[in-house]
């Protein structure tokens, strides 16, 4: 299944590994931050509504 990478196996595999890892880290970080900020904003907005009514 694995293609014959020959003597360049280390180079090819490491470049794929590094690139994919960097992309994954970027995506995970972006999604995590997005969720956190959305949650925090909602709680601040809710607090603002409650203060206005109360």
């Amino acid at each position: 299944m694995m293609p014959e990478l020959g003597k360049y196996a280390e180079a090819v595999l490491s470049s794929y590994a590094v690139s994919i890892m960097l992309i994954v880290v970027l995506v995970v970080a972006s999604v995590t931050r997005a969720r956190r900020v959305k949650r925090e904003l909602e709680s601040v907005e809710k607090r603002g509504r409650e203060n206005a009514e109360g």
Binding site: G6, L22, R33, K38
Partner: protein, 243 residues
């Protein structure tokens, strides 16, 4: 007081992107997986470069996005300067880390690709050097955003920096070419997409490029939403502290 957004534009942006983000992300994933799998497993080796040619499926798309990311930031900065749409400024801010990551990927894959040819892990090839300088520009841009507290001031300063930086980035490209023209002429890495990339490599490469473009757009939408919300939150917190 109902949850009123101070700016209609940002709300529409979030509404619209919320709807299409899943599609963009999904197509990006498909394009990337198909493209990379096809390129990695089902294409032959280059007679000169051996199996290292498979690195183009990552190097070329990331290099393209590294540059296009900066260009997008430049356009967004110009829109901010001229029309003062906050979403533009925030989009530029959101794009920077994505572009910077693309630049790092391009640098790492470029260096690794060159290693069997040059025998060293890094060579001051004009192309690679230009990407290194581009990375420094990205870093400076992100650092300036982070250093300024006031949102509008930060947007104004960073947009001018992006403009000036763009001019100098182009100047640097020429300078670096001049600087390294004498050496490595024969061994210069043939990464030009203008060069004839054989058909058999071409289609998976196109898919990978498409995948990276869609990935950039998806991350851009997501991150800009986050910036809009963060800005809104800062405004609300400031109001809380005063009132």
């Amino acid at each position: 007081m109902a949850s009123i957004w101070q700016y209609a534009n940002p709300r529409k942006f979030i509404e619209t992107t919320d709807r299409i983000l899943p599609w963009v992300a999904g197509s990006s994933l498909v394009a990337l997986v198909v493209g990379l799998v096809w390129g990695f497993f089902f294409t032959p080796d280059d007679y000169r470069q051996g199996s290292t040619v498979k690195i183009i499926y990552l190097h070329v798309p990331s290099a393209l996005m590294a540059i296009n990311g900066w260009i997008m930031m430049l356009v967004a900065s110009l829109i901010w300067i001229v029309r003062r749409h906050h979403v533009s400024a925030l989009a530029a801010r959101a794009a920077a880390p994505v572009g910077a990551t693309m630049t790092v990927i391009a640098l790492v894959t470029g260096a690794i690709w060159g290693q069997p040819m040059w025998g060293t892990w890094w060579a001051w090839d004009p192309r690679l050097t230009s990407f290194l300088i581009l990375f420094l520009f990205y870093l400076g841009y992100m650092a300036l955003w982070a250093a300024i507290e006031n949102d509008d001031t930060a947007a104004d300063l960073t947009s001018v920096l992006c403009l000036v930086g763009s001019v100098f980035a182009v100047l640097s490209r020429y300078a670096v070419n001049f600087w390294n023209q004498g050496l490595h002429q024969g061994a210069s890495l043939s990464l030009d997409k203008e060069e004839n990339v054989a058909d058999v490599f071409y289609h998976p490469l196109l898919l990978c490029i498409a995948g990276f473009v869609l990935l950039f757009i998806a991350l851009l939408f997501l991150r800009t939403q986050t910036e809009i919300r963060a800005r809104r939150m800062r405004a609300l917190l400031a109001r809380e502290r005063l009132g």
